[in-house]
Symmetry: C2
């Protein structure tokens, strides 16, 4: 791909309307474009990143045995009246009348619809557990949408739902998602910590938010440094192993401000381990038993007895994660972004110095591009006539993790190669490829 032909509209300066760094950067390098208040189009650079995040989220859902479905965006109001949430939800719900004057709405979440699908399909406890997810656009009509895609109206979300016969099995399902979320965020190169949280409009009595630390975060968080040393690498998909994982995390104080208690914090957490900072919510899991199954009559036969199923729901903000990763990884003072290679729009930028009427460097770039392609390395060539330092500044913002530079200093078969934020090395193309492939496989 030539940069001159790619649809990446770069702005010279930070847009003044953007207040936080993810919003600034995404507009600046043409990842998104606002189409109306709180509603965005995703341009190729932003789309590529979001799609890679989506795929990682998907793979980690599949890995714990959740089945993918796809529910529509437009729902009938009837099921929301059944659950009792039609009036509760307030003005954030986008209400619509169709041409037949039926009350419809743009789904802000899917507990009702998935419960309706479940109850009309599953009749016996022998078909349990059922774990279902979908990745679909949602709409919440925020009064004041802001911060770009971090608090917008139309957003892309993975939401999963579990159906079990009793609390014990339902907690097993809950813990599977607990593990899955730790794995997902790790693959995105984020340290997200699970925190006890309020359940809000979803309801229930058990809930964890997964939060990454960021100065620009909207949630205040209080936790214990030692929680960052934990990991899930030895956990397996089995009841006691999963229980053990959650207990390890729950040993440490870790809450958002809704659940915060200063006295408790001071008592439980030794001073040197106290963390009091801000964070961004990237995932949220809930257990709410029969809150929806009872009013909506979602029950199975259990040896002749009717049992309401026990449900949980599990969300990850896929579009929001694009912004969250920027908040975590972007050094806005030096204007240097570096995408984790697992979600980077390209693996390597090829940056040739191009002089008028001299195509030597561009031809070399084309050859390198083809060689990269044969190694499954996705590259973009900056074929524009900008000077080399302007090009490098631009690619520092775009955040493709590796840069291969063909400047004046290119000697024979050695190229200037660097990881963003790293030292420039003089490498053969084969050695550059090995470095990128090594990073990709980690």
């Amino acid at each position: 791909m030539y940069f001159s032909k790619s649809f990446v509209p770069i702005l010279k300066n930070n847009p003044t309307e953007a207040k936080i760094k993810s919003h600034q950067l995404m507009l600046r390098v043409g990842m998104i474009k606002q189409s109306s208040a709180g509603i965005y189009s995703w341009l190729p650079l932003g789309f590529k990143v979001m799609k890679k995040i989506e795929q990682i989220v998907r793979e980690e859902q599949d890995r714990i045995g959740v089945q993918e479905i796809l529910m529509p965006t437009i729902q009938s109001s009837e099921i929301w009246k059944e659950s009792g949430r039609y009036d509760d939800y307030g003005e954030e719900m986008l209400r619509i009348k169709d041409r037949q004057d039926r009350e419809m709405l743009y789904g802000p979440t899917n507990e009702e619809l998935v419960t309706e699908i479940f109850r009309s399909s599953i009749k016996s406890y022998k078909s349990l557990p059922q774990l279902l997810y979908h990745i679909q656009w949602k709409f919440r009509d925020e009064l004041r949408p802001r911060f770009g895609i971090m608090r917008c109206r139309e957003f892309y979300m993975k939401d999963a739902y579990s159906f079990d016969i009793n609390d014990d099995e339902a907690l097993f399902s809950y813990n599977k998602f607990f593990l899955s979320y730790l794995r997902t965020f790790k693959r995105l190169n984020l340290s997200a910590i699970p925190m006890a949280a309020d359940t809000g409009p979803i309801g229930g009595n058990l809930s964890h938010e997964f939060i990454i630390l960021a100065d620009t975060g909207e949630s205040k968080i209080y936790t214990d440094k030692r929680i960052f040393n934990l990991n899930s690498s030895s956990t397996i998909l089995e009841k006691s192993s999963l229980n053990n994982l959650r207990q390890q995390y729950e040993k440490f104080y870790s809450v958002t401000d809704e659940k915060f208690d200063q006295k408790e914090f001071d008592k439980i957490v030794p001073e040197e381990f106290r963390v009091n900072t801000k964070g961004i919510e990237v995932g949220h899991i809930f257990y709410f038993g029969d809150k929806y199954s009872k009013p909506m009559n979602a029950a199975v036969d259990f040896n002749g007895k009717k049992e309401f199923v026990k449900m949980g729901s599990y969300g990850i903000g896929v579009s929001r994660l694009v912004g969250a990763i920027i908040e975590a990884k972007y050094n806005d003072k030096d204007e240097i972004m570096k995408w984790p290679i697992s979600v980077a729009p390209y693996h390597c930028s090829i940056i040739p110095m191009i002089k008028k009427n001299d195509t030597t460097n561009l031809e070399k770039s084309n050859k390198i591009f083809e060689y990269f392609k044969s190694k499954n390395i996705d590259a973009i060539i900056d074929d524009t006539e900008e000077n080399i330092s302007a090009k490098i500044r631009k690619f520092n913002l775009i955040g493709i993790p590796y840069q291969l530079i063909l400047g004046n200093k290119t000697e024979g078969d050695l190229f200037e190669f660097k990881e963003i934020n790293g030292e420039t090395q003089k490498l053969s193309i084969e050695d550059a490829v090995s470095q990128i492939l090594k990073a990709k496989s980690n």
Copy 2:
């Protein structure tokens, strides 16, 4: 995957509300579930098929150099007023007022929004051509939604848009899509023929519908048998080669009823080649010049002169294709469906005869499943206690193209293996794998 744990709610009989065979089959084998009039949820079996179709469509867009973006579902009415279509579109457009009382709508198509993105991003003719596509949910508030996902309200569509400096370049873009569509439908194992068509609400003066033959189709078509012998295998992405391809097709009479002229048909097509039947539209391409760029002021600088860009748009109904493939491939008399392997929900079903308290066949099935997995063959095991002929009838409907049966007759290392509609063979597991892999790679 065990069938008993999969979310595939099978109906015993054809649902009476469904009038055409794709609608019947999709409800019968639990591919979809209606959530309100003309709005469906996609259950795992249907979702898998649609996702595979989507991926083939995507790859064939990428292959001709179209860049993927993603526009939102909810649009502002303003751009539709600019183009003049806000009033034209009538009641099929789902109009929405948000909490601030702004006029919004659920996009039925995206000419306006993509033009808005283009005009604010691209300033010089040097950045042309630009080819952009997205795959997104659309909504058309049909008065009488029917035929399941074939004529529904919320549907999944790939729509692409081209921007060029003049007619000649724009026709080059148009012809790229012409080729891309032939390739796409071929990979879906459909013989779709391009037909001269009316442009309807999109406008313009050049347009082709891509239509597959089916008795249940909504379009009447008139064509020449010989057109089915053409193919695009020797065409390359170059002006004269593409022109030549379109000319080859246009040599034969081939129109929908809107453009039909009996006299012309009788004159041009020799009697023995006349085809007069019904078909299903699966794709539609349009060239409409400056119809949108002029009123919306989408222009580029061309050596100091302002030139309105010349545009085309190109749609493929991704969700509709699931139904179209069923209409083309399902033998409803014998109740046998066979998915093309490129989009089949699984490659092979493993169907063991299971007797009470005897797990021999199930254990064998598990081993075969793992072996298949190691060869990238995706299988499902029917672990239920239904009798073997009921299982086979069920899988004949589900349409997974290969069946491996572990019945009484299983001797040593040979298994009953068949392609749906084919003869039962006695094969070693290695030979079965070779057959499936060969079909996959075609």
